[in-house]
């Protein structure tokens, strides 16, 4: 089977193979072309770009990896990961309040986020089970709803019902968390745990090891019974149910795992940033992570670890070079930034439309195949006679 796949890939001239590759991965190809054009225009040195990419890869990969499990389970892109990010942020607020420093602070924030993420993930899974086939849009709206509750808790509950001892965290009125929380106690605690400098580039080795651990977990998880059940559900929910798999329960577990990982990922993300934007940091996370994984060549129904890394690199390359390229080409960095936003979110739309179009075509082809089966079988019989 694997050999067949390999042979199929190697059929044709190199140009034909290249064309097939472009057709199979149009979004990464588009981004590679834009990046190749924008890098020289930006005027940034390769060393600077590599340094920036290394930092951003460490910052975002964990969050983007959290999207893989629901995709395996056929639940599409988990826009509900924002809820996990909220749990991570609540953990960080408590750790800052209690003045817990360094790695213990980070791990404690992760542990605090765990029960919240499990609870949020369970609720999300329950709701998504009621909206089968519309998981993405449901998750997207759910994130808005959850944001309202998060703001209610953080803006009114903290400092009044939930005790916050650190005055620097609380608004001057006596309750509610300030708009920006300085994470000085845990700032880059993981990034600087094992400091490595290679060819003048600072590499956050400990963070990369943590990300590698998650990659191994995902690879291992795919091979477990639960992972196989999720794959079966992802391929055909009805067949999986007929085979005796507890579809709804497995889907909930997939979302819980994704939400928990998103919570931990948000802690890793925020320790790198060093400042928590209490009411906004989580809002963009879902969109950014989903854009990154789609840019990496993943689809709504299929995602691999390599899509995550390629996506983060390409997406963030655009982040780095487009303002400067815009400034150098048009004379305004803002136009470059607008261009990046336009292209990045345009890509999400293109990827989703392309996926829907591909599925439609596949269905049409399957239908046409069924229709042709009668006459072609008949023709074959005639030839035999």
């Amino acid at each position: 089977m694997k050999n067949n796949k390999k042979n199929k890939k190697n059929v044709g001239t190199p140009w034909e193979r290249f064309k097939r590759l472009i057709i199979a991965y149009p979004v990464p190809a588009l981004f590679i072309v834009i990046s190749v054009l924008a890098i020289p225009a930006s005027g940034f040195s390769i060393g600077y770009l590599v340094q920036e990419l290394s930092t951003r890869l460490a910052r975002n990969s964990f969050l983007v990896l959290s999207l893989i499990v629901p995709i395996i389970a056929g639940m599409g892109l988990n826009f509900g990961m924002t809820l996990g990010a909220m749990a991570g942020q609540i953990g960080l607020i408590f750790v800052t309040d209690w003045n817990i420093i360094g790695m213990p602070g980070l791990f404690l924030a992760m542990i605090i986020s765990l029960p919240l993420s499990i609870l949020f993930g369970y609720a999300t899974g329950k709701i998504l089970n009621k909206a089968k086939g519309r998981e993405m849009v449901t998750g997207f709206i759910l994130a808005f709803f959850a944001n309202g509750i998060y703001q209610l808790v953080v803006l009114y509950g903290m400092g009044s019902i939930i005790k916050i001892g650190n005055e620097a965290l609380v608004l001057s009125r006596g309750y509610g968390i300030r708009n920006a929380v300085n994470l000085v106690n845990v700032r880059q605690a993981m990034d600087r745990l094992i400091p490595v400098k290679f060819l003048g580039i600072n590499i956050p080795l400990a963070t990369f090891l943590f990300i590698a651990l998650l990659c191994f977990f995902i690879l291992w998880f795919k091979k477990t019974k639960l992972g196989q059940d999720m794959r079966a559900i992802g391929q055909d929910m009805e067949v999986a149910e007929a085979a005796g798999i507890a579809v709804e329960k497995t889907r909930i577990i997939a979302i819980v795992i994704s939400t928990v990982l998103a919570g931990i990922g948000q802690v890793v993300y925020m320790q790198n940033m060093g400042t928590l934007n209490t009411y906004n940091s989580h809002e963009q996370i879902g969109m950014f992570s989903i854009a990154a994984i789609l840019i990496g060549g993943a689809t709504v129904s299929e995602a691999k670890i390599r899509n995550v890394f390629l996506g983060v690199v390409l997406f963030h390359l655009m982040f780095i070079v487009s303002p400067m390229a815009g400034k150098n080409l048009i004379g305004s960095a803002m136009l470059g930034e607008y261009f990046r936003v336009f292209v990045s979110y345009g890509v999400i739309s293109i990827a989703l439309v392309l996926h829907a179009w591909k599925r439609l075509k596949e269905r049409e082809r399957a239908r046409a195949g069924l229709g042709l089966q009668g006459p072609s079988v008949g023709a074959a019989q005639e030839i035999e006679a």
Binding site: W98, N99, I100, I101, G105, I111, I112
Partner: protein, 131 residues
């Protein structure tokens, strides 16, 4: 079913224990290193002409008379080492001690002259004076 519940409860218990452990070892404290005259038992212990203070593995801090500096540390157990110099910056003595922060609060005042004189109350919880 019971076995499952038992395992889950054990996992939750372990997580709580790890969280408590992380809280204890990661709790941050501000140490104010003070090189001012220290009065104790009717006697005045004068500030050092120059003293280098090293807390744990932090970079040493130089203090001159009436100087006060601060270091952030995590956990309650620490090591402090001082090297005392005279007016001509010749080394005249050193002292190193492993100690545990006692008392409530997250800020402690460490008196260098008291520490140099091996007095027992050489550190105490510090409260920011209210204006």
């Amino acid at each position: 079913m019971n076995r499952k519940l038992l395992i889950r409860s054990a996992v939750v218990l372990v997580l709580i224990m790890v969280a408590v452990f992380l809280f204890i070892i990661g709790k941050g404290y501000t140490l104010l290193l003070d090189n001012k005259d220290f009065e104790y038992g009717g006697k005045t212990y004068e500030a050092f002409e120059m003293v280098k203070v090293r807390v744990d593995r932090e970079e040493p801090i130089e203090l001159y008379p009436r100087d006060r500096d601060m270091v952030m540390v995590s956990g309650k157990a620490h090591t402090i080492g001082i090297t005392v110099y005279n007016k001509n910056y010749d080394e005249i003595g050193t002292r190193e001690l492993k100690f545990r922060l006692k008392g409530k609060g997250s800020m402690f005042l460490l008196s260098m002259p008291a520490f140099g004189a091996e007095l027992e109350p050489w550190f105490a919880p510090f409260k920011t004076p209210e204006l």
